[in-house]
């Protein structure tokens, strides 16, 4: 049922895009929402943000980074193949308002997540400034797409191979110093980046939203795997989030919880790589 209609690999093969047939989900998804996907019968359930939908044609677009067995296995699938399960849309859509000037910041794969949100703020009539970044030029994704949904795009690379040399937060800090009209910052990327981003905006008192990516299982509020501490309260990211006020998020707890299965994930990935090298078909 959930057929891969199109596949594209980018960022030196570390990021992969699927266009998936999922008519009901395409009709319902709003920016900021995600799906949970299970590649095959023995697969785990992993959450992935929906970057684009086409309700009329019944497809959704997702991006994922190859980090372990599941994503590596997905990256080997081809158009025409079927993803066993795609469940969604899950989570609360991003609250999009006309706030004046909005800065949308995406780092790494986070650019794919911030893309539909940036477009939504743009369509809502905001003045949208976007900052996207990556470690190096080849890892930068969706630059053109992002450029088409904002008034001003800044690009950074950690190694200076493209755009400005430095971090997204360097540009963010300068912008906040220059402009007093920024109503909101939305930042999505790896946890250390979001954490630093929130530290950057704090002194300016600008409302900062982040989209969190904890470990999840069912995605409907049933298991509590994705609990995060926000403003001293435990929240379930799958039903209360994934967007939260970044100044309230306990990032340290989040990073520790994200590390919970690292040994098993490593074992699983190594086994998979050995199987692939050995020509096993599973």
């Amino acid at each position: 049922m959930f057929e891969i209609l199109e596949k594209k690999q980018m960022a030196q093969g570390t990021v992969c895009m699927f266009r998936l047939k999922a008519p009901r989900i395409a009709r319902k998804t709003r920016p900021g929402q995600f799906v949970i996907l299970r590649a095959n019968e023995r697969g785990e359930r992993i959450p992935l943000t929906v970057a684009e939908t086409h309700p009329e044609q019944g497809w959704i677009r997702i991006y994922f980074q190859v980090v372990g067995k599941t994503t590596a296995m997905l990256a080997r699938m081809a158009p025409g193949e079927i993803i066993q399960d795609v469940i969604g849309p899950l989570g609360v859509p991003t609250h999009v308002d006309k706030v004046g000037t909005v800065i949308c910041v995406g780092g790494g794969l986070g650019v794919a997540v911030i893309y539909p949100i940036t477009r939504a703020f743009f369509d809502a009539g905001n003045h949208v400034i976007a900052i996207i970044g990556a470690r190096t030029k080849e890892l930068l994704i969706l630059e053109q797409e992002m450029n088409s949904v904002c008034h001003e795009l800044h690009v950074t690379t950690d190694d200076g191979s493209y755009g400005r040399h430095g971090f997204v937060t360097d540009v963010l800090k300068e912008l906040l110093e220059q402009r007093k009209d920024v109503g909101m910052v939305m930042g999505i990327g790896p946890v250390p980046m979001m954490r630093f981003l929130c530290k950057t905006t704090q002194p300016f008192g600008v409302k900062t939203m982040v989209s969190l990516n904890p470990i999840m299982v069912d995605g409907t509020g049933m298991c509590g795997a994705c609990r995060v501490r926000v403003g001293g309260q435990t929240r379930f990211c799958c039903v209360h989030g994934p967007d939260f006020d970044g100044h309230q998020v306990d990032f340290e707890e989040l990073s520790k919880r994200l590390m919970m299965y690292v040994p098993q994930e490593r074992e699983s990935y190594q086994r998979f790589q050995a199987e692939v090298a050995g020509g096993s078909s599973r």
Binding site: P89, L90, V217, T220, M222, V239, K256, S268
Partner: protein
């Protein structure tokens, strides 16, 4: 009077003891996920069935929430007509192999058995299990009597015991039935919650398969409230009635410090990883689960027993049940407590956790507890546990599983117009399961709060009757 005369008439048979059910020895079974009891042999079933007094006014039937004709099926067993016995049970019970395993028979059918007043009651649950298993393994599928198609369509939300029961009843009445399930596999709590060693998943699949053969359609991966709303089920998908059997799946935590440390699980997450996702077969299956050496389980219901026994099978050296009341108040079934004890699970009773302590990687390493004593009865009628000042102590642990209950998931009420809920978020219904919204019924845990499989099935049966009447009046 008549029962008394039957007594004396059958006085020889009464003395035949209740047939024990063979099971895996504890030392062996704590290393595998295979089912613990093996079930009766045909000989044992015949012997056990012969113990039934065939009371004229059976005490067992009124104690069964789905009204199985218990004397009827047992006399068929006694005659060796196992297939006929299975068909008899299926007249009112769509999930006999499940009920034969997980129903609290001691509080239901068997509690009403006249034999039980003086001797042990007839092992109705074990016989039900035997009949269902025998039929599944040796029988060929036979279509039960079906009403002619009515052209009416019913959407069932949730494929747990309530939804499956209702679907079975309504399809037989000639209505078109589609079950929508949010997870990727149908069965609800039977799949994600109850471990393989207590309810093999093959059995749930067979029961679901039986319903599909009757014509029930099942759509997995549909989160009603998100993928589709209840209103859309009526307006866009053209259903005439909707049944909400979504359970009460939101885990409750204790709200004590350290609860989000790594290694602190909700029982729902722990059991879902192990049961639905088959994490106990990692790395052959991709979902990981942490393996604790010294595990504590908070709570003392069936879910706590399931979690504790799962932890043991996954490789824990010690597993402790930590419960704030005393043994007498433990909500789990006697059989589950007995099995857990046999397997070496330690009970820390009259003990309440105060906080979790973590290491520098954010993993739980200990739990501070306080000893409790029982005071005056509280609203639940049970004596209220009160902390004993100064009795705090540290329990070393590297994994904690919180099994203190679940509550209503707001997903459906929050996306359905005109659906009344009470202050705890449960859906308000009348005794037939009718909600405040036209054409919508609800039943099972989402109405009553966490209860048992059989009570959810009873609610499904009642709602099915009411929905049938409603549909036929349209």
């Amino acid at each position: 009077m008549s029962e008394k005369s039957e007594h004396s008439h059958k006085s020889k048979k009464e003395r035949l003891p209740r047939q024990p059910m063979p099971e895996q020895p504890p030392k062996e079974r704590i290393h595998n996920f295979k089912e613990v009891p093996f079930g009766y042999s045909p000989e044992q079933a015949l012997a056990e069935a012969s113990r039934c007094l065939k009371c004229k006014k059976p005490g067992c039937v009124p104690s069964c929430p789905v009204e199985v004709d218990i004397p009827g099926f047992i006399s068929l067993v006694a005659e060796g007509k196992f297939f006929e016995a299975a068909a008899k049970i299926r007249e009112t019970n769509s999930l006999p192999a499940v009920c034969g395993r997980v129903c609290p028979q001691e509080d239901q059918c068997e509690s009403g058995c006249v034999l039980g007043k003086k001797w042990d009651p007839v092992a109705i649950g074990r016989l039900e299990r035997f009949v269902a298993d025998y039929d599944r393994l040796h029988g060929s599928f036979q279509m039960p009597p079906m009403a002619s198609p009515t052209g009416k369509r019913v959407a069932v939300v949730g494929s747990g015991p309530a939804g499956l029961t209702l679907a079975g009843d309504l399809i037989k009445k000639g209505h078109e039935v589609t079950i929508f399930e949010a997870l990727h596999e149908p069965g609800g709590v039977l799949i994600y919650g109850i471990p393989e060693f207590r309810l093999p998943k093959e059995i749930v699949k067979a029961e679901v398969n039986y319903l599909q053969k009757l014509g029930v359609r099942i759509e997995t991966d549909v989160v009603v409230g998100k993928t589709l709303t209840v209103d859309e089920l009526f307006e866009e998908e053209g259903y005439n009635a909707v049944f909400l059997g979504v359970g009460a799946g939101l885990p409750v935590f204790m709200n004590i410090p350290g609860e989000n440390l790594c290694g602190v699980y909700s029982a729902n997450e722990y059991l879902t990883r192990s049961n639905l996702m088959k994490a106990y077969l990692f790395p052959d299956y991709d979902t990981p689960i942490a393996v604790g050496r010294n595990v504590v389980v908070l709570g003392a219901g069936n879910v706590a027993m399931d979690s504790a026994r799962t932890a043991l099978r996954l490789g824990a050296e010690t597993v402790r049940i930590v419960y704030r009341r005393s043994r007498a108040e433990m909500p789990a079934r006697a059989e589950e407590i007995h099995h857990a004890e046999e397997e070496g699970i330690v009970f820390e009773l009259l003990t309440n956790p105060v906080r979790f302590l973590g290491d520098d990687r954010g993993w739980v390493k200990a739990m501070e507890c306080v000893r409790m004593e029982l005071g005056e009865p509280d609203a639940s009628g049970r004596r209220r546990p009160v902390p004993i000042p100064g009795s705090e102590f540290i329990l070393e642990t590297d994994m904690a599983i919180v099994a203190i209950g679940t509550t209503a998931n707001p997903l459906i009420p929050s996306t359905t117009s005109g659906l009344e809920t009470n202050k705890w978020g449960y859906i308000v219904t009348d005794e037939t399961g009718r909600t405040s919204k036209k054409g919508v019924w609800a039943g099972g845990d989402i109405v009553t709060g966490s209860a048992t499989v059989i009570l959810a099935m009873g609610a499904g049966r009642k709602a099915a009757r009411a929905i049938d009447e409603y549909l036929m009046s349209l």
